[in-house]
């Protein structure tokens, strides 16, 4: 099977799963004991907004039920829901009072940025330690790193985030640590800002303290602060220097949540890498390479690692899923308004369209990243395509 055939096939397989996810979210939203029609009109539900032709008054509530199609059979409702999904009308949030798509468009980049930055930390860390651990199998280093790998997987992520805040953002209590990092970033005590996405002091005072992130950007502040130039940036006060400062600020704010997410997934990566490398090191071609007299480091890095890394690609999918789950908790603690926090808030207020939207969009992100992973896997290991 050619690569493009494989990709097309995988894409086609995605469709039933996506339909299934839509059915699942629809079912969940129908089971949730909340009245979407009442949520939409709030305290104005009893007001008369129109009359029928016979002159019978219609309340806002009744009108909502009719408009949202809640009086129709479930199958029809699902068809309407599905058609709306397809054309990009995901409903309107009753807590944010905005279209769900807009809410998600604002929230998704935050979570994605965090997830990818976290994996950026996790992969080098996990793979390096995994290689070292496998090379020094059954020695002290191996035991210690394996213990820490399991320990980091076992840590409750919300607690670990708070411990990180305690250690690096606030500074150990009564230790008087402070001013290690640039005091410009408003970090009191520790190295890193305790929460938020950027420093509240980085604003345009003349515009009513609007954060000076360029409005037309991608939403990924890491990219925006580096690439997107804004005329307004030139008008910044002198002490803020350039847009590099924005970048530094973004990185500092991302560091703790990403370290928190990243360390957890690096633990499992270490274990997979170790197991995979140990398996490869017993292969014949490694023995051949050694017999040729190649140095051990070259055997491990060039001959063994390249093959050991192949199965690690598949772990990427799991890591992304884990990071998306973990984001719910880290975002709550680090006060980042990403998808996780939107999900928590929507469930607290039983905001049905947002719950459905968040579930669906995380599923789409997760599925697409898995698709990319599979394609990568098919590229590095052509045997997969045959199955």
């Amino acid at each position: 099977m050619k690569l493009h055939e494989f990709v097309v096939r995988r894409l086609l397989l995605l469709i039933p799963v996506l339909i299934g996810v839509a059915i699942l979210t629809f079912t969940i939203s129908h089971l949730i004991p909340a009245d979407a029609a009442a949520a939409r009109c709030g305290d104005r539900c009893g007001l008369t907004v129109a009359w029928t032709e016979d002159g019978v008054p219609i309340t806002a509530y009744q009108q909502n039920i009719e408009q949202m199609g809640l009086d129709r059979p479930v199958t029809t409702q699902f068809r309407i829901y599905f058609e709306d999904l397809a054309v990009g009308d995901w409903g309107e949030s009753s807590t944010y009072h905005r279209p769900v798509v807009d809410v998600l468009r604002d929230a998704a980049p935050i979570t994605l940025e965090m997830t990818f930055f976290a994996l950026f930390i996790a992969y080098p860390l996990g793979i390096t330690l995994g290689i070292l651990s496998a090379v020094r199998q059954d020695r002290m280093f191996d035991h210690i790193s394996r213990f820490f790998a399991i320990a980091f997987v076992s840590l409750p992520i919300f607690w670990f985030a708070m411990v990180l805040q305690l250690l690096f953002a606030i500074g150990p209590p009564d230790s008087g640590v402070g001013g290690v990092c640039d005091p410009l970033f408003g970090t009191e005590g520790g190295c890193f800002p305790i929460f938020g996405r950027h420093d509240p002091s980085l604003t345009y005072p003349e515009d009513g303290f609007v954060p000076f992130y360029p409005a037309g950007g991608t939403g990924f502040h890491l990219i925006d602060s580096w690439f997107v130039t804004d005329q307004k940036l030139a008008t910044l006060p002198a002490e803020f220097g350039s847009s590099r400062l924005l970048f530094k600020d973004t990185v500092l704010h991302l560091a703790l949540p990403c370290a928190c997410l990243g360390v957890a997934s690096s633990g499992s990566l270490l274990r997979y890498m170790r197991a995979s490398l140990l398996e490869v090191l017993h292969e014949d071609y490694v023995r051949t390479a050694r017999a040729k007299g190649i140095s051990e480091s070259r055997v491990v890095i060039v001959h063994a690692c390249r093959n050991a890394l192949i199965p690690i690609v598949t772990i990427l999918g799991f890591s992304i899923g884990g990071a998306l789950s973990g984001a719910v908790l880290t975002e709550t603690i680090f006060a980042l308004n990403g998808m996780g926090r939107v999900a928590v808030k929507s469930i607290q207020y039983l905001d049905l369209p947002v719950i459905m939207g968040v579930t669906l969009i995380t599923a789409v992100i997760f599925l697409l990243s898995n698709l990319v992973v599979d394609i990568m896997y098919a590229i590095v290991d052509p045997r997969v395509r045959l199955e």
Binding site: P16, V17, L18, G20, V21, I23, L24, T25, T27, I28, S29, L31, I32, P33, H143, R146, F147, I150, A151, V153, S154, L155, P156, I157, F158, W159, F160, M162, V163, Q165, L166, I170, P173, G321, G322, L324, S325, G326, V328, L329, T332, I333, G340, A343, V344, I347, Q348, L350, I355, V358, T359, T362, A363, F366, L367
Partner: protein, 583 residues
């Protein structure tokens, strides 16, 4: 036609082989333990799990106070100017107590001597549910009036004979200018009940500090282990059961069923776990208790009965000797053990269900009669099977109902018994009541249900893979060729050979479930605020986070240690059962 009891030599030979295999399997266990013991981490994990289990079991004895002390007192019980104190771990002030004393002689609550006692806390044996500990006063610390102004401490003294009695001096209650007619006395107490017996002298309450309600965090963390272990084990075992059934059906039958089940699993896998669990938690309706109709409840004792009969009949087919060879006493006398729940069932449950007559004795007699009819049925079965022929059983596989196939006959008879029982119940004048399965379906049950709903596809996939692997083996084919029905092959031949990865996944899943449940509690979807659950304890501590970090430290550590214990245990078991790791 060849009879069943022919071929005595073959039978003896197979008997010998079976007993050999069984003795092998017993030494297998000690060998497994040897492999397990090799890894320090695995042993550590086992110890950690055992420690958490012990702590949760003996929490009542180890804990200093009940975890819900004061919690259910409503707000009116809190005086405005008495705010319970958060205390740091090991602080001396943990043993201080502030008590209000009525000084208005006209008040019905007034008396000249006051008993030093703790605040209300919930007590199971107390008459109204509340209980106050009587405290032994060591030292009086301060006396304030209702506005917070200091008074002379010598106005109150400790009774020299009984250090739990405080004596009010006449100046205190004759001074009517005191606002509100009461004073606040702070004293240090030294109470037997508050001692942690295994701690050095002086450390009494709050080795972990106290929270904003003045509750001892140590006790709360201890009791939290109960909640977490309960959630972990319940959810993991139920997901295993559901996942195993679905996965083995999917793997065994294959084809369209497999396709549909796997696509459903794909859908569940497509949504990251915690987010799906959050959505499902919100979708589960509020209920107070989980009930099932009685006719469905009848299914469980009947299934039990059917299993017993089946077991008995199988042993008649295979021969009792083979079964009993090399088995422990528990397995050997299992028939006697089966009798115990049977008798209990007859005596307790069935007469109430049948409701045949007003007299209980009559009901009892009827139920005994039903049981004996079933017993006669078993004897008849035995005769039937001894007469049955096994020749050409493989050829008969394609036919739908084959009365000469003993296994199929047994399955059919079980269904018939069930239907008969339901019909019997319907005509016996049952009132159509419901059996309560979960008495108190609270928010904890809700997250358990959500975690089960989100967890089963993982097991289904795992088991499916295993079943696909084992299905191709020769002994499965052999069983099929004798005409054993699918259910029997699945549960008797395939699953016992696929348990190893299941056990590993189960152990790891307990840890994972504890993590997810505490995470759900943390974001406010799980346990009630104020309950002794680790996630809730951490989430409540955020209010005082940077200042009183000890509040979040210990519950979080408890989660980490428990989950780490289960993960290490699972890893250790994996090393034992994974053939790759056998050296």
């Amino acid at each position: 036609m060849r009879g069943w009891d022919e071929g005595e030599e073959d039978r003896k030979e197979s008997l010998r082989r079976v007993s050999e295999a069984l003795s092998q399997s017993r030494s297998d266990f000690s060998r497994s333990w040897k492999i397990y013991r090799r890894s320090l981490l695995a042993v550590m994990g086992l110890l950690m799990v055992m420690a958490v289990g012990t702590i949760s079991f003996f929490a009542d004895d180890i804990a200093v106070e009940h975890p819900y002390r004061n919690l259910q007192d409503d707000e009116w019980q809190w005086s405005i100017d008495y705010e319970p104190q958060r205390q740091k771990p090991f602080s001396e002030e943990c043993d201080w107590h502030e008590q209000s004393i009525t000084t208005n002689p006209n008040s019905p609550l007034f008396s000249e001597t006051v008993v030093a006692e703790s605040d209300n806390h919930i007590h199971e044996t107390a008459a109204n549910g509340y209980h106050k500990d009587i405290l032994t006063v060591v030292r009086l610390i301060s006396l304030d009036d209702n506005n917070g102004y200091d008074l002379n401490i010598s106005l109150i003294s400790i009774d020299p004979n009984n250090s739990s009695i405080l004596i009010l001096s006449p100046e205190l209650y004759e001074n009517t200018s005191l606002p509100g007619g009461k004073v606040w006395l702070t004293y240090e107490f030294d109470n037997e009940a508050m001692h942690v017996s295994w701690m050095p002298e002086g450390y009494q309450r709050c080795i972990f500090g106290t929270n904003h309600q003045g509750q001892d965090m140590f006790s709360k963390v201890l009791y939290g282990s109960r909640v977490s272990l309960q959630i972990g084990i319940t959810v993991a075992s139920l997901t295993v059961i559901i996942g195993t059934i679905v996965g083995s059906v999917s793997g065994y039958f294959g084809g369209r069923i497999d396709e549909v089940i796997m696509r459903i699993c794909d859908v569940f896998f497509a949504i990251p776990g915690l987010i799906l669990a959050m959505a499902v938690v919100s979708a589960i309706p509020e209920m107070t208790s989980l009930t099932i109709p009685i006719w469905l409840g009848l299914l469980f004792p009947l299934l039990f009965l059917a299993t017993v009969f089946r077991e008995y009949l199988t042993s008649t087919i295979v021969g009792d000797q083979i079964f009993d060879q090399g088995m422990g006493p528990l397995m050997k006398y299992r028939k006697v053990l089966y009798l115990i729940p049977l008798v209990l069932f007859c005596l307790l449950l069935w007469p109430d269900l049948i409701n045949f007559s007003d007299s209980r004795n009559w009901n009892l007699a009827v139920s005994m009669g039903v049981i004996s009819i079933l017993g006669v049925l078993v004897l008849a079965d035995r005769k039937f099977i001894e007469k049955a022929s096994f020749d050409g059983a493989g050829e008969r596989l394609g036919k739908t109902v084959d009365w000469t196939n003993p296994w199929r006959y047994l399955s059919l008879r079980t269904v018939v018994i069930f239907v008969a029982a339901v019909v019997l119940y319907e005509f016996s004048g049952g009132d159509g009541g419901e059996i309560v399965i979960i008495n108190d379906f609270d928010r904890l049950w809700k997250i358990q249900a959500a975690l089960i709903v989100t967890g089963w596809p993982g097991y289904a996939r795992l088991i499916r893979g295993q079943v696909l692997y084992v299905k191709e083996m020769a002994f499965v084919e052999a069983a099929r060729s004798v005409g054993a029905p699918s259910g029997r092959i699945m549960f008797r031949h395939i699953l016992p050979n696929a348990w190893a990865p299941l056990l590993v996944a189960f152990t790891l899943d307990i840890g994972g479930t504890i993590l997810s449940a505490s995470g759900l509690s943390f974001i406010g979807l799980g346990a009630k605020p104020g309950s002794a659950e680790w996630g809730i304890l951490v989430s409540e501590s955020r209010q005082w986070f940077p200042d009183d970090a000890y509040l979040m430290l210990f519950p979080g550590l408890a989660i980490a240690v428990t989950v780490l214990g289960f993960n290490l245990l699972g890893d250790g078991i994996r090393d034992v059962v994974d053939p790759k790791n056998r050296r």
